[in-house]
Symmetry: C3
Subunit: 147 residues, 3 copies
């Protein structure tokens, strides 16, 4: 019965939940890193965060983390949403694990590439690999939706 | 049984999955368009993307696509999240299809309005129509949640 | 049976759906507030929004709401995604209600702190409390995913 697909007793779902939890936590950690660099570099964006001091809109370190965080939102959130629908299409455990692991590895490498400013095409490649994993699942979801 | 609602054998869910897949892919395509315009207009935001060259923070073409992408994140992601909960409230197939189709059409027209800078109120109207579709589903979800 | 967990007949799920609907609507309301302040302060970011007039990229009121909106996306969306997986781990009704209520209250107080520029640590504390609620659920999800 299809509804049993959405359960931790389904190994595909358990894998999906595990990797979704990991990449969402990784995304949320960007917030903590932003706070750390705002305090370290003393760059505050809101007047109430630095009473009597000044507001600094553009700090290179903080803006780099912000861009990495936004890129995560743009890619990790669609992965989790499409991944959940993909689990319901009843993929093989092997194919599903491949999608989830490739995506998670690509995004972790993307974050490392971004934060340490690794030379291109490190970041570009990790972005494309993660993107392809989500797109491949999306094709399965859309195809299951029309049939 | 309520749990059968989340299955591709439920026509309402299949429609939800199809339209969610479409609008999420549309959102993710904004990334590719951003990359295309960054390369075409030679505007790079990270030093490592253009070694020896300069960083250009504000290009009108790229910023327009970025705003469109962010607007999608602000609207498409809530649609998919609330839509999934809405499917579980057991709506009629007719009402559900209406919500999903109106939202998808509105967001596609919103993107066209944004990217081609169509005169207002094209973009404003498409934004409002998509917003109302999600809000209408949210009312159903919140009402089902309290009862 | 695990699949019955995702149903409005499960009180934990009904609570999850209710609070998810509330915080997502709160997030989407930031769009309306942005539009209101753009019209009130006459600050337009797209040339087609103000034909014959000028474009004003940085208005303090609008930028404050935009930051609040982005912070919501960064925190509310992970809450809803992780919360849905958390419901499937079969938490006690008491523990689940605690997580959902604390998160919702923290985010509503975060918005008030941000929009009215309340002195710190109002906003910082409400951010941390909401963050901890989501992180606590994420730990449960990841642990259920590996076992």
């Amino acid at each position: 019965m299809a509804s049993d697909l959405i359960s931790f007793s389904n190994p595909v779902f358990a894998q999906y939940a595990f990797y979704s939890g990991v990449v969402l936590c990784k995304t949320m950690d960007m917030s903590l890193l932003t706070v750390y660099y705002r305090l370290k570099n003393k760059v505050f964006i809101n007047p109430e965060d630095n009473p009597g001091g000044k507001v600094t809109p553009n700090d290179p370190d903080v803006e780099r983390i912000r861009r990495c965080h936004l890129n995560d939102l743009e890619n990790v959130v669609p992965f989790v949403l499409i991944g959940g629908l993909y689990v319901l299409t009843g993929p093989s455990a092997h194919a599903a694990a491949l999608h989830f692991r490739i995506f998670a590895a690509a995004r972790i490498f993307h974050t490392i590439s971004y934060l340490f400013a690794l030379p291109q095409p490190c970041r570009a490649l990790s972005f494309v690999v993660g993107y392809m994993a989500t797109a491949s699942m999306a094709v399965n979801v859309i195809r299951s939706g029309v049939m």
